[in-house]
Amino acid sequence: MSSKPSVDRAAPAARFPRDMVIGFCTVVLCAVAYWITLSFADAPAAVAQNVQPATFPRLVISVIAVLALALMVISFRKDSRPGKSVPAMVAMTAAMMLAFVVAFEAIGFILAMALFCFFMPVIWGERRWHAVIPFAVLFPGAIYALFAFGLGVHFDAGILGF
């Protein structure tokens, strides 16, 4: 259960050079982006002057695709080491980042900030409550005061009414 599974998970990356997989994914993304450009409306010739809205993005997408193909070719010459797996803490932190923005919209900035400042240190392993609680209360309060009153930034009222 200890380290073996992570080695197994990394095995496919070692079979194919890592940069080849990256290059392949980039080419696929370029194909998708190019397909999206097909939906761009055409502008009248007098306005577009022979440079349609899709022309430049397509040119850039083609450049990226060529560079990605070059990356794939060069990857054959490189040694490929299996990448480290992402710690679960990163996934938790990413989820907290997204939850913070959702809370920002749903319950208001100050409450979202206080909850984030309380739960984030706790998730990261901080258990000194005498530090966590003042941090979760004072830091959001100070930031809110600075921006709302000091810099005149407007925040939509949350469920607390401010």
């Binding site: 761009f40 440079v51 913070f100 984030m120 930031i143 930034v153």
Partner: protein, 501 residues
């Protein structure tokens, strides 16, 4: 002359001096904190400077930029954890000196070399920027197109191993810049029905996300790593003999750093590495390098600080960023409604003199703060990660929100952070994407205008000498890292064959 006097008068205002000193202290602090680079701090601070007048706003960012480059050396020397990438080479000899109980000597040499490098670079900026801007007066859309291509191609030379990834990142940034309404035709591109995207993706939330959001996740993956306490004696200035011993290295590094800084896309990190290598190459006795040679500190520190002012030259004179941090300062100029390029020199010369003066003041100020507060600044590494990084993320969110007071910008910041983390794991870096995003509009508009001027005949590009020069430089800078890579591989193969036989 009038503009210079006006700038001098502006500097008699205590408010402006206070702003610069705050920027300097902030720069040294964030530079000293591993993970918190001056680039990230500039990105975080940018939205808040929008409420200020342009002169204090840009002076604050410039002071932070100069001081942040020096600040990284404090923790590189004391705890072997470079606060910022340009200070990585300083740790090679700085930390061994600190372990021998000579941290003060190492910090003293870092401060002296940084100040000399920094002041030299400001002189380069004062001399070279107006000259370059005069040349740039002759530039039309084709020249700007070729120049911006050259700027993007220089991304390849940042690192030979990831040259292609840097180029892909730069091109991806240009593609991101196409999101929103095409201003020539009024047609929406990549907006997916969201009207908020019609005005395009603003680079500030993307920058904050790619630097701060991404680093927040990186720190989450390093929570188990312990913190190191500094071994520290009193700051002691290097003696005359030490200074004489390092003088040649400092002079050489000033030249190297300024040259590297002048090149678009290159910055302090590359300058510091070359400065270190050259210090070692020119030394008669190389045996102490890596074990605590003062020249191993003087070389990279003078070089990375010499790159700061020089990197502002293409940023101000051409509107092409010289480094990741100057890309953000360029963004700040644009956000304040200023037009970087030759017109900046005729339209707002006072601002330019203010930038020169603020960088000079910051260089003297960080030396003073460095000597007086190095012990204190080194303690920032002891701030618990569990509190510091959530606080940074909250500041990043509010920074993204405050600009247009739009929640969409906060989403963009968070998504850019997540995306940046994934890219970082696969060997891509944030700086090329930012460069591409900032240069994207210039590339597209100058190309479109050129095509209209040339009646869609691409061969007309080759009839303009400046364009041809930039195109040749572009090709060279793209091919050179690949040639170097292949040559290194071939030499390695030959060496391996020789060992086998």
């Amino acid at each position: 002359m009038n503009a210079f006097l006006t700038a001098l008068v502006a500097f008699s205002d205590p408010y402006l001096i206070t702003v610069i000193l705050i920027g300097t202290i902030g720069g040294v602090l964030v530079g000293a904190m591993p993970g918190l680079s001056s680039t990230m701090a500039t990105a975080l601070l940018l939205p808040f400077t929008l409420t200020m007048d342009p002169i204090p706003a840009i002076s604050l960012l410039s002071a932070l930029y100069c001081a942040g480059t020096f600040g990284g050396s404090i923790t590189a020397i004391l705890v072997n954890a470079p606060g910022a990438p340009p200070a990585a080479a300083t740790a090679f000899d700085g930390y061994p000196l600190a372990q021998r109980g000579q941290a003060g000597m190492a910090l003293g040499m870092a401060a002296v070399s940084s100040v000399i490098g920094g002041i030299f670079s400001v002189v380069v900026l004062i001399v070279a920027a107006p000259l370059l801007s005069r040349v740039a007066y002759n530039f039309g859309p084709p020249e700007y197109f070729a120049l911006s291509l050259f700027g993007l191609s220089m991304l390849a030379t940042i690192s030979g191993e990831s040259a292609l990834k840097n180029l892909i990142g730069g091109a991806f940034g240009v593609l991101l810049a196409t999101i929103g309404m095409d201003f020539t035709t009024g047609v929406d591109r990549f907006t997916f029905g969201y009207w908020e995207l019609s005005e395009g993706i603003h680079f500030i939330p993307v920058m904050i996300g790619l630097f701060a959001g991404c680093e927040f996740l990186t720190q989450a993956s390093k929570l188990k790593e312990g913190r190191v306490r500094a071994i520290f004696d009193a700051v002691k200035l290097p003696g005359w003999a030490d200074f004489k011993h390092c003088f040649g290295t400092i002079c050489r590094s000033c030249g190297i750093g300024s040259f590297i800084g002048l090149l678009p896309a290159e910055g302090g990190t590359v300058a510091a590495m070359i400065g270190y290598n050259e210090a070692k190459r020119w030394a008669k006795d190389k045996s102490q390098f890596g074990k605590g040679d003062l020249r191993g500190i003087a070389g990279p520190e003078a070089a990375n600080n010499a790159a700061t002012g020089a990197a502002m030259v293409p940023t101000l004179a051409l509107g092409i960023p010289g480094s990741a941090t100057t890309a953000i300062i360029l963004g700040a100029l644009l956000a304040h409604g200023l037009r970087p390029g030759p017109h900046l020199f005729t339209e707002t010369p006072t601002l330019l003199y203010a930038i020169f003066l603020s960088m000079l003041i910051a260089n003297f100020a960080f030396a003073a703060f460095g000597f007086a507060g190095a012990k204190l600044f080194a303690r920032v590494t002891l701030i618990p990660t569990e509190f510091l990084w959530p606080a940074v993320f909250v500041l990043a969110s509010i920074g993204a929100y405050a600009m247009d007071q739009s929640i969409m910008d906060v989403w963009i910041m968070v998504l850019a952070g997540l995306f940046g983390f994934v890219l970082k794991r696969y060997g891509f870096s944030a700086a090329p994407i930012i460069m591409g995003l900032i240069l994207g509009e210039l590339v597209e508009n100058s190309l479109k205008q050129s095509l209209i001027i040339f009646d869609h005949n691409w061969f007309h590009f080759l009839e303009r000498p400046i364009v041809v020069t930039f195109l040749v430089l572009t090709l060279t800078s793209m091919i050179w890292p690949l040639v170097t890579l292949f040559r290194t591989k071939r030499q390695e193969r030959k060496a391996a064959d020789a060992v086998q036989s």
